[in-house]
Symmetry: C2
Subunit: 669 residues, 2 copies
Amino acid sequence: MEEQMDYSMAWLSYRKIPWYPDREYFRKIYVQENEAVIHTAAKELSRAAEAMFDESPQIITILKEAPENSSAGIYLYTDKNGPGNGGYHLYEEGGRLTITAEEPSGILYGCFALIRKVQRQQPLKNLDYKEVPDNPLRMLNHWDNMDGSIERGYSGDSFFFKNQELLINERTADYARLVSSIGINGVVINNVNVKENATKLISEDYAEDLKQLAMIFRNYGISLYLSLNFAAPMELGGLDTADPEAAEVRDWWEKQMKQVYASVPDLGGFLVKADSEGRPGPFTYQRTHAQGANMLAKAVKPYGGVIIWRCFVYNCTQDWRDRKTDRARSAYDSFSPLDGQFEDNVILQIKNGPMDFQVREPVSSLFGALQRTRQILEVQIAQEYTGQQRHVCYLIPEFKEILEFHTCCTKERDTVADIISGRAFPQFAGGITAVANTGSDTNWTGHDLAAANWFGFGRLAFSTSLSAGEIAEEWCECTFGPDKEITEAVCRILMMSWPAYEKYTSPLGIGWMVNPHNHYGPNVDGYEYDRWGTYHRADHYGLGVERGSKGTGYAQTYLEANASMYETIEDCPEELLLFFHYVPYTYRLKNGKTLIQHIYDTHFEGVEDVQKMIALWNGIRERIPEDIFMRVSERLEHQLEHAKEWRDQINTYFYRKSFIEDEKGRKIY
Amino acid sequence: MEEQMDYSMAWLSYRKIPWYPDREYFRKIYVQENEAVIHTAAKELSRAAEAMFDESPQIITILKEAPENSSAGIYLYTDKNGPGNGGYHLYEEGGRLTITAEEPSGILYGCFALIRKVQRQQPLKNLDYKEVPDNPLRMLNHWDNMDGSIERGYSGDSFFFKNQELLINERTADYARLVSSIGINGVVINNVNVKENATKLISEDYAEDLKQLAMIFRNYGISLYLSLNFAAPMELGGLDTADPEAAEVRDWWEKQMKQVYASVPDLGGFLVKADSEGRPGPFTYQRTHAQGANMLAKAVKPYGGVIIWRCFVYNCTQDWRDRKTDRARSAYDSFSPLDGQFEDNVILQIKNGPMDFQVREPVSSLFGALQRTRQILEVQIAQEYTGQQRHVCYLIPEFKEILEFHTCCTKERDTVADIISGRAFPQFAGGITAVANTGSDTNWTGHDLAAANWFGFGRLAFSTSLSAGEIAEEWCECTFGPDKEITEAVCRILMMSWPAYEKYTSPLGIGWMVNPHNHYGPNVDGYEYDRWGTYHRADHYGLGVERGSKGTGYAQTYLEANASMYETIEDCPEELLLFFHYVPYTYRLKNGKTLIQHIYDTHFEGVEDVQKMIALWNGIRERIPEDIFMRVSERLEHQLEHAKEWRDQINTYFYRKSFIEDEKGRKIY
């Protein structure tokens, strides 16, 4: 049965522009012959022009070289001397708008950049704009299951899978348009926890479907990737081992990859979660992660594929009584000794923090420790721990902080952005990926404002120097049109949302304090006596985890000067104080407040911030489409109630434990 | 497909008796003609004799009157002058063993009593034993769902239902044998939460199956009961209301009951959970529970049926911040004003405590408050909050305390046992029911020792004056044979198990402190900030819920002198101290210990008690069948680890909160 397609196009929902002076350029589009991606680009321009100002451009095929002395219009062509690696040059000269690039994908990105300028009604005359992506790999990881569910999905079911089958339809193409428009060039469609039928995605059963899907992606400059089950030789191949050093296992993978690449010759490669949270991996056979990853890497090398190997490895059966084991150390301890041992088509994928996508964590100490290994930074726009797309939480400011963190691995160019882009160690370029926040909901992301994270992630992945504010503004104007009042209100909401969420949830980097399993809503002791290594250690006197050299020593896994900075309470950045140290409630922060008063104050402030966000949103009611307004309003009301629940539970918990009164005498239960 | 039947017969697993002096009696059994239940009784005697000492009795049909001058053997016959109401007289005289009773069911119970004596190898010569059941209704409530699952079931799937169908097979008959052998005379086969197909149990769809099941039950003196969906007129009948005062609703029920009773003329009646935890009920229509229950009662009255109406009604969406609402008051507040308003075939079913089957609760204040209403005491042998049949927790001592509680409703005969039996208010006799602990496991109850609760409940329901120790001994010797060493070890384990469980879990009547949803394992704050009305209110200074007149006033819902006793910390029985009062950690108990030291000490002691239980069990290893020994051992080892987890979480929680050291300096985390 055909699915009913009923969804918006998010920031590509083109609005009519009543009077558009630059429509002239759009009468004719000159495109190169035989370049599918460039034809896609021209089609997108055409579609945008028709929708926004009823112009139906004539598309004219030209030779590969740009014609001299040609007439007004838009010219799309590759040029060996143009910007490479997906970059483009977009300029206007004498009535001609030109987009040139070394690669067809650059042309496509240039076209979407042009469309954004039109959506924002910016003048095109004398435009001269160059953009080259900072990161070779700019990916989305979908945690979609083949039964149609999405692990940690908060916006409906999967649009990639249903009833163990791939869905390939209009929405697939529209998904490709959306992600291509923000510069994404790689998509992993299935959950990293590869079980049951998902193991068979690399078998003949799904070959024809993958071929079709890859074709749709290919036209938009996107490579298809799959998550892999390390135990596939046993579960799929019927072998009695998956030992990466066993000849029959190597042979099986080689054979299997040959077959997969026969269907999809430009398959990007595979993402692997191994020896993590119960998934199989090389440890079963006393092999290292390097042995596991390299074995797979050799199998895909002939086809130009890569193996992306996740570093999210830790002991998930810890005893809460054990204060020596520290989950924060785990990725570092497992992978830093392997630096330099990986094949050049292996890329390690490292979560931004040492724990798991909390609202505040330090940057993983693996960044900087690894200097001879390709690395992908993994962030999560699915708001697992940041409000699950029922709370507004614009995460781009957080990602900016992560990217700009100085790891001290080189004298210059030592930030996370420098490392993953290859600026720090040019042989070892990688990229950035986000766990996706999309689903089959009408608006793709459940919360309409969560689309800013989707859009923003792509834009930031492409150009890490963009500011969070610039990106918010761009998303807002593409989505709602260039209306100053909307832009101001929405951008203020977005920019205050992450700090607000941090204020009313777990304080100063300690993390968790959420309900087990679903990870939603407050539960201070929810994980305190559990096996996940995620503790706050609060008692009558104070709270926090001692991770300096007198504690678990995690601070010492950083390079200098970071190690020294994190070592002491005095030097540790205050937003991470409880992550690195056990601190008494009476400790005075730099602003003169005690720790406990800071906890009380921020929790009251966080709720007030949500009230401000609601007032801002209500202020633009008449300017926002009714359905979007109502959807967002409903979620904001829930967010307010839920923020109060957080405030009251956290404050009550610490008041009952410390018995220290709120200086301001506010209601604590 | 036929189910593989593989299960023990629990305490009816007859053992060979190598030399049995009293086998003579079993050569001939004289039974009355035309009495199905008496024939069942004879068959049971015969089966027991064959299994235990290879005697195949000749069954001889006699006239209704006992023949004079008859020969040696066993005589089973009803006698208008014999004990009534299911009672029996079992005596030996001149080589004749006679069991006589006013009703056939009395004969059956007498036979099972005789079998128990044989199992225990007690002499039969000159035996003269009378037993009359204290309670008219002695029931089991199965919370079995039609998909085969069991709500709060800890011993496998349902043996009543599978795939929306009734299971009627050999195990059904064996179930009837087991429950009849302990005097149960009513069984509700389906979950009180009646949804989906279970609503249709009263429709033609299941009429034939119910007829068959009722026949099996009938031969063992058991009446079949069903749980009812109050909204059935809508969900099944297609009406647009279930208003008990609407004529079409009354008509629908009358019609429906006529049809049900046409299939099963002796159907006992119906159990109803209404307006509770989301189930439909009369409140939807602004009607009282009395109106709801009476409407149904009138519909079943022509057939002699009863309506058993549960009093488990409370607000399950409470705000944890609200200290005025008290779930403990709820049943009292809802039902005490309705006393005297119920039809005489309505029986209110009241949970033993005002909350929900915690390891320690006061007796519900509804007992004593209701004086013109029939009442059933509801206890739970499914160990939902008492170790889920992975921990040993012999509950008969608890049930004894409940039954012997003086409600002060009359000068004499004022205990709960007096009320439900009808001794207190003879017009208003009711009975006792237990939420069953059985399932499709080989041993019926998961934990082999949990069978003592099943057996014990039946025996206690029949004869409330039996002691918990007597019952334990009887169960043990029927199950394992009369081996003094086994009896001593097992009875010691059983008798120490409830106190041990209380010691290492939540202290002094406060309850909960368990993981939400599954209710298993420690989680001190698990329900503290939730909507279920189940709080401990612990802070740095103390803990407990103030339920005296300065608190929620629940203590004042008791009759004098109980109200005064519960009112003050000084007079309140210490085992219920935290249920009724907020008490500082430094408060000194009557034994001179502070409250906090009591918490620490009992939690260490509870674990030591489990260690003792393990030592006792290991001491009889050679005497216990290997499979049973291993199953119990495995569970005891788990219980020990789990008791330690309880100990450490509870002690750590209160140490971190109070910062008061353990006087004995033991390890607290």
